[in-house]
């Protein structure tokens, strides 16, 4: 009601003013009837009524909402002021929108991967069950969320009481192609109740049920996602019953999930979901011939359940914890050593909130994203300081106007509101533009983090939280840069301002103390950001320069899948040999070799080993299986002994090549040649033994960041478990594109059924540094921006000071000060700002460095050279920025300066 009235206030004013006129007419007529002259009658009528404007005003006020009314006036006034000074308005809106846009984009990503709940029914009821602290687990780990073994999952499913429905899931990339180049699909292994737990309904067909998830089910039913349905089947509703091939096995499509359901993993989207009972048929490329469903040491599942009504997470957690011992007892992997069993039995299950889904993306990027948000926030703060400085300058230009208005009785709060309106207008415009910008920026961020083999899916629909964040930022910035000058402008007593119009020789120092403080804080913050930027770029540089022990350039990896050929075990190794030989003769190929583990990108295979005849205890050693020529191909030099060769066959002595780290760990630096390496296995099995025949230089194993680990390379041809997969490392001097087609042609000539996936080694390694690149790029960008902004701020204040001190400088020069003296005087002033800023900034930078420590490689968070470079660079840029106004001061003609009153 009051709102309606507010919008109809003009209408009512119109009616009332006509009504008042009609009163005057009627009264006049009556007065004439009473015998007055027309003129007199009209005057009398008007006297009787009183001032019609006052009456109308009273009614208007009744209808109006005073605050809104004046707000509207203030905003219009502010808009007019800004129109008078478009340069300022453009700079202000642009810098605000950039700052707010960057902050919103980063927050948007944080919101999407951390804060937002899954788009399923009542996500707050979802909880995951995993081992609270899993130390020293051993076995086979596959997938991004390898929390559980199938045996444990079945035990939990059969014994838990806390969940109304519970389900297990795992992830895997399937190959849709039958032979030839691979076409990947993001797959999910799910237990029967998965969709029931999440409360997802199909839009076509039906979803998987417990009836589909039965031991020995074979390749049967698959549920596909909406986007996969659109992509592969063009959204055809007759998709039900059609077959899709996953790693060569045909599955029947039984249903499609809704558009907004992207799976349970935030940051990924799934294409196809199949029951976990089908795992023995399909198996994982990673585990090769291992059937994970039966292996009690195969960790490949995660568990999510929906809590029963009235159960809290804490109660459910206590419940599964109490069950732990009996469930673990029933599922001890038979191959485990005493030590492993002890570790295993010490595990305790727990329940944890899962409403926001699972996310490996979150684990990897949550910390960097919060840090980037802090960095972007500081940049915005520096930009605000600049604007505040500009506003201060404008406010001092209006000082007299404001003093006059105060003197004739304007209320201080009304003046503050009017001055704030200008800031509010800028902030609103900046936020609106920033919100638009953020849409593209957040997409850009996701694109940065997406690689060919690792497609990300982040739902970037802005939600309430994002809008609230942007709005909050706008309000905050407005308060920061708008309020400060306003308070100062209205605080000064009108008398002082009006009296000082005659201008003294110098301004009282406290008159622009606020601007000095702003510049000092700008310098401090930009030092902090510059230091941070240098740390992150330095860390990335260290990573790129690190000696990994192998060559990175010019190596193509062909990942081959022979499983369609159904080769018998004894044919597999000779077949791989033949493939290698054929690849080696492709023109331009220098060498080619097989290697089980692609180094530096996260692959891992480790065993407990010991040296025969050595008293040293068993220790972990990392393994890879390679063919002859592997070390040559990767450029790893032999230090002693020999490489594998064609005489290493299944019938000859089983041999191994170890690296330097192995030598220092297992043989105390003595030559290991001729000694025997033993691998510990489960009870009843024969422990394999390898005679060490060579030593190679250290190489990184699964991560570029790691310390060198002890590695034992064993011969591919001597394996007793030949599989149907192969990583072929090809070193060549030709470009990758023609090489890829040549290799494709050669392989197709051997058999069209060979599955192929190409990777460029350098690209893979480069992608493994994604997080470091993100931090270095963005921190570097923001650092440069911060320095630029601070430089502008310093320049502005120095120019202002020069103008303020024109008189003083004129007098000094008239009294004999020479130009260098003036320059020195001005630079001394700038130096004080810089010194104060650098001092505060150093303290801040050292504190902030600690927060960044975990993201740095080979760099101390307080690295003195980096800090020195940051300080030096900032001081140089700052002095250069102040030199311009200083020279301008020195060039002044004293006569002009003094006359310029």
């Amino acid at each position: 009601m009051p709102w309606l009235r507010f919008f109809r206030r003009r209408h009512w004013d119109d009616i009332r003013s006509r009504e008042l006129e009609s009163y005057v007419e009627i009264e006049t007529a009556d007065n004439i009837a009473r015998g007055m002259s027309p003129q007199e009658a009209c005057y009398a009528a008007r006297r009787k009524l009183g001032n019609p404007f006052l009456i109308r005003e009273e009614i208007y006020r009744m209808n109006s909402i005073g605050f809104l009314e004046t707000l509207w006036h203030d905003l219009r006034f502010a808009a007019r002021l800004l129109r008078l000074n478009p340069g300022f308005a453009v700079v202000a809106v642009l810098s605000l929108s950039l700052g707010i846009g960057a902050n919103t984009a980063i927050f948007h990503l944080i919101d999407a991967v951390r804060l937002r709940t899954l788009p399923v029914r009542n996500p707050q009821e979802l909880a995951e069950v995993h081992i609270a602290e899993r130390h020293g687990a051993s076995g086979i780990f596959t997938g991004r969320h390898s929390e559980m073994t199938n045996a444990l999952w079945e035990q939990i499913r059969d014994h838990q009481q806390a969940f109304s429905a519970i389900s297990a899931w795992g992830d895997q990339t399937f190959n849709l192609a039958v032979g030839g180049p691979a076409r990947n699909a993001q797959g999910l292994w799910v237990s029967g109740d998965f969709f029931h737990v999440l409360g997802v309904q199909p839009i076509v067909g039906r979803l998987l049920t417990p009836a589909d998830d039965r031991r020995g089910c074979g390749a049967t039913a698959a549920v596909i996602s909406y986007s996969f349905w659109q992509r592969e089947f063009a959204g055809d509703r007759a998709v039900i019953g059609k077959k899709i091939t996953l790693d060569g096995h045909p599955f029947e499509v039984i249903g499609v999930t809704p558009l907004d359901f992207f799976g349970i993993e935030v940051g990924r989207s799934f294409d196809v979901a199949v029951p976990i009972c089908a795992e023995p048929v399909v198996r994982s490329v990673d585990t090769r011939d291992v059937i994970r469903l039966d292996r009690r040491d195969a960790w490949w599942l995660a568990i999510v359940g929906r809590l029963k009504l009235g159960w809290s997470i804490a109660r459910a957690s206590a419940h599964v914890r109490a069950l732990s011992t009996s469930l673990l007892e029933a599922t001890v992997p038979p191959d485990y050593q005493t030590e492993d069993v002890k570790n295993y039995m010490a595990y305790r299950l727990g329940a944890f909130p899962a409403g926001t889904g699972f996310s490996s993306l979150r684990e990897a990027y949550e910390e960097p994203l919060w840090m980037l948000l802090a960095i972007a926030g500081l940049v915005l703060l520096i930009a605000c300081a600049n604007l505040a400085n500009l506003m201060l300058a404008r406010a001092s230009a209006r000082e007299r106007e404001i003093a006059v208005r105060l003197a004739i009785g304007a209320s201080r709060s009304r003046l503050i509101r009017q001055l704030l309106a200008e800031g509010a207008l800028l902030a609103i415009a900046g936020a609106a533009l920033g919100a638009l910008l953020a849409q593209s920026l957040s997409r850009l961020l996701v694109a940065f983090l997406t690689t060919n083999n690792d497609p990300l899916f982040v739902d970037l629909h802005p939600d309430v939280r994002v809008f609230a964040f942007t709005g909050g930022l706008a309000l905050l910035t407005c308060l920061i840069f708008g309020l400060m000058p306003v308070l100062r402008a209205t605080r000064t007593s009108p008398g002082t301002v009006l009296k000082s119009s005659g201008r003294g020789l110098t301004s009282a120092p406290e008159r622009f103390g606020l601007r000095r403080a702003l510049v000092v804080s700008q310098v401090a913050l930009s030092l902090l950001l510059l230091f941070n930027a240098l740390l992150f770029t330095g860390s990335l540089r260290n990573l790129l320069r690190v000696d990994a022990g192998f060559r990175q350039d010019g190596i193509l990896i062909a990942q081959l899948d022979f499983s369609r050929l159904n080769l018998p075990k004894d044919r597999r190794e000779p077949f791989k040999q033949e493939v290698l030989d054929r690849v080696r003769v492709i023109p331009g190929v220098h060498s080619a070799a097989e290697g089980r583990i692609v180094p530096g990108i996260g692959d891992s295979w480790n065993e407990d080993t010991w040296m025969e005849g050595s008293p040293a205890p068993k220790a972990t050693c990392f393994f890879s299986r390679v063919s002859p020529g592997y070390f040559t191909t990767l450029g790893t030099s032999m230090l002693a002994g020999r490489d594998f060769n064609d005489h290493d066959t299944p019938t000859s002595p089983i041999v191994a090549v170890v690296n330097e780290a192995y030598v220092s760990k297992f043989t105390n630096g003595n030559s290991p040649l001729g000694r025997v390496l033993r691998v510990s296995v489960g009870p009843g099995e024969r422990a394999p033994s390898y005679e060490i025949v060579g030593v190679v230089k250290n190489t990184k194993y699964s991560d570029i960041r790691e310390e060198f680990r002890p590695i034992a390379f064993v011969a591919e041809r001597q394996t007793d478990k030949p599989d149907q997969f192969s990583n072929v490392f090809i070193r060549s001097s030709v470009a990758f594109r023609p090489l890829v087609s040549a290799v494709k042609g050669t392989l197709a000539g051997i058999s069209p059924d060979i599955g192929i996936d190409f990777r460029v080694f350098k690209t893979e390694l480069w992608n493994s540094l994604l997080r470091d690149r993100l931090m270095a790029t963005l921190a570097g960008f923001f650092g440069a921006l911060a320095v630029l902004l601070a430089t502008i701020g310093l320049y502005g204040v120095m120019s202002y000071i020069v103008v303020r001190r024109t008189n003083e400088i004129g007098i000094r020069m008239a009294l004999g000060a020479d130009r260098p003296m003036v320059v020195r005087m001005m630079l001394r002033e700038a130096g004080i700002f810089l010194c104060a800023g650098v001092a505060i900034g150093t303290v801040l930078a050292l504190a902030a460095g600690k927060a960044a420590a975990s993201l740095l490689f080979n760099l101390r968070p307080y690295d003195p050279p980096t800090l020195a470079v940051a300080i030096g660079a900032l001081a140089l840029v700052g002095l250069a920025a102040s030199l311009v106004p200083a020279l301008r001061a020195a060039r002044m003609d004293p006569v002009t300066a003094l006359r310029d009153e």
Partner: protein, 117 residues
């Protein structure tokens, strides 16, 4: 924004009284502002002198509260005038206010002339 919660007693008395008088005037039928002002003066034997200008904000307030409704009409001497009529809500309000007024007057009288009561 017009204040709906109770203002200080004195002005409440005056404002409330004017409202009551206006509503009472309209009981007899629709009238325009000029008529209402004179009617109040006449009926009080010119004791209550309404400042005619102040009547209009009161009329606006009453209309805003839905106690009276207005429309354009033609006055006795053929001029366009804004007429007001009592709404059912206004009638109820009048009864309520009159009752309260009577109570108030009786109470004040009891205080002022305790002997005669």
């Amino acid at each position: 924004m017009p204040k709906r919660d109770a203002p200080p007693l004195q002005s409440d008395l005056i404002q409330g009284t004017l409202d009551m008088l206006v509503l009472q005037t309209l009981v007899l039928g629709p009238a325009h502002g000029h008529t209402i002002a004179y009617a109040i003066e006449h009926r009080s034997d010119d004791v209550l002198q309404v400042e005619h200008g102040s009547l209009y904000p009161a009329l606006h307030r009453l209309e805003d509260r839905g106690w009276i409704a207005s429309f354009w009409g033609t006055s006795e001497n053929n001029r366009k005038a804004r007429y007001y009529r009592l709404t059912p809500a206004g009638r109820k309000q009048l009864a309520q206010q009159t009752g309260r007024w009577d109570q108030l007057v009786r109470a004040i009288n009891r205080v002022l002339r305790p002997a005669t009561e």
